[in-house]
């Protein structure tokens, strides 16, 4: 999912370890019957602000199929989570 190693490898020749900015982080999400998040990392979702899909790199062996949700948690925090179609897992991501 998070392909840090490939990026790090390409920069290894320069002796620097680079990482992806805004890499996804695995999250514990409970979703409703329609797949919309109800609870993110044990915090309830107060408002679903927006949802969108990202389908990319379908021509490669590592296609990206994600359903993104921008939510406001009960604590007032804005966060973006996505459901990864390939792995079936949920992730949070900044900068989406």
């Amino acid at each position: 999912m998070v392909t840090r190693s490939r990026i790090a490898g390409s920069a290894g020749a320069e002796g620097r370890v680079v990482a992806r900015f805004n890499a996804p982080r695995a999250a514990r999400v409970e979703a409703d019957a329609n797949g919309r998040p109800l609870d993110v990392n044990h915090r309830a979702v107060a408002l679903l602000r927006e949802e969108w899909r990202v389908v990319d790199r379908w021509w490669t062996e590592d296609p990206v199929v994600r359903g993104y949700f921008e939510v406001v948690l009960e604590s007032g925090e804005n966060t973006v989570v996505f459901h990864d179609g390939a792995s079936g897992g949920w992730y949070t991501q900044r900068g989406a």
């Binding site: 990482a19 900015f21 019957a33 927006e50």
Partner: protein
């Protein structure tokens, strides 16, 4: 207790307000102009003639040739539903609308006010009024409250105690569960037609056969989780509308009208410098129906250009020429939340920042301070847009 207020066929009832005589005749809500030709809710007379909601239009007309089709009035139904929810809120209930015609509320906070559970639920029905044929179900869990509302008659209150819950749910049909149509058929093929039959199966076997949706349905068939109700924040009431002397279908004219509406809505004193998070664009169509779309902005904004750009593509979805266009600012936020710069870009501050970073590097080691380098800012995959590169000098 959690109560569920249900008004089946609210869209049809709202549309029939224009032609109340049709309510006693076989009539059904016509399919959406650009959608599948499937009927919406139907009147009791139509149901008696063999017409069912969700039936194909051709089949319905063959079954009942005198069936009258009622033009959908989406904006009217939304308005009516909003009035109903507000009436409940005015009666002291914290309401969580689930969908058009279904809302949940907790009774605990108002039972003492109205002298008990039943009087409180009666008060809720009275607040809604008799013209909508509302009914209420109450139980310790949300799904059980919805199930109770589904068996209640118009104007009736059905309360299910926790100890009666398994017996109450057992004979109810599977269609109460939020499952895809194929899943019902799969379950019926297995001989499972009632909630009690599903609840009696081992949970692991259901999950293995039907996946997570099946497992969730199995949980609900056993009463569901005791999730609490979250009362909504009542929407703002800032709106602007424009009535055209004759129906307009030209997109350029509609775009100009939209620009005027955005300016006019933003200028209203009720907005009080607040930012807009959610807007609704509604239209009265020449054909007599109505149309409505809501949009949540990615970031709250009070910039008319941004709101106009976000809404303009929706105008292309209008199914017919428009007699009146209306813009509603549904949700407003306080004008806070914008991230300001941590440090102003002054030369002295930059020098202090460099010194600070040098100290961080010295104490935490090489690679601890990074800079963000954009590599593919156009990418749709967020983590491909930029890299974190160590900044060691």
């Amino acid at each position: 207790m959690i109560a569920c207020l249900a008004i089946p066929g609210l869209e049809l009832k709202a549309a029939l307000q224009r032609t109340p005589t049709l309510a006693l005749r076989p009539a059904a809500l016509a399919p959406e102009p650009q959608g599948e030709p499937l009927l919406g809710p139907v009147t009791a007379a139509a149901e008696a003639a063999g017409v069912r909601p969700g039936m194909r239009l051709g089949e319905a007309l063959a079954t009942c040739p005198s069936l009258a089709l009622v033009e959908p009035d989406a904006a009217g139904a939304e308005r009516a539903w909003e009035e109903i929810v507000r009436a409940l809120e005015d009666a002291g209930f914290a309401v969580e609308p689930a969908s058009l015609g279904v809302a949940y509320f907790e009774t605990r906070g108002v039972e003492r006010l109205y002298g008990g559970l039943e009087p409180a639920l009666r008060r809720a029905l009275a607040a809604v009024g008799t013209e909508w044929d509302a009914r209420i179900g109450a139980a310790g869990r949300r799904f059980a409250a919805l199930a109770a509302a589904s068996v209640a008659r118009p104007g009736q209150v059905v309360v299910v105690a926790d100890e009666e819950l398994p017996q109450f749910l057992a004979p109810l049909p599977l269609t109460l569960l939020p499952l895809e149509r194929g899943r019902y058929e799969e379950l019926e093929a297995l001989g499972v037609r009632k909630l009690g039959q599903l609840a009696g199966l081992p949970g692991g076997a259901v999950a293995e056969r039907l996946g997570p949706d099946g497992r969730r349905a199995w949980d609900l068939a056993r009463g569901g989780a005791a999730a609490r109700v979250r009362g909504r924040r009542p929407p703002a009431l800032v709106a602007a509308s424009l009535e055209f002397p004759e129906a307009v279908g030209n997109e350029l004219t509609l775009r100009r009208a939209l620009a005027g509406l955005v300016e006019s809505a933003l200028a209203q004193p009720e907005r009080r410098d607040r930012f807009i998070r959610k807007v609704a664009l509604a239209a009265r169509l020449e054909s007599g129906g109505s149309w409505r779309r809501t949009l949540t902005l990615r970031e709250p904004s009070a910039d008319p250009e941004r709101i106009r750009v976000a809404l303009a593509p929706r105008l292309a979805e209008l199914p017919a020429p428009v007699g009146e266009l209306r813009l509603e600012l549904v949700e407003l936020t306080e004008p806070t939340g914008h991230q300001l710069e941590l440090l102003a870009a002054g030369a002295e501050d930059r020098s202090r920042l460099r010194d600070g970073l040098r100290q961080v590097r010295a104490s935490t080691g090489s690679g601890s301070v990074c800079t963000v380098v954009e590599v593919a800012p156009w990418s749709r995959v967020p983590e491909s847009r930029a890299l974190l590169v160590p900044k060691d000098e």
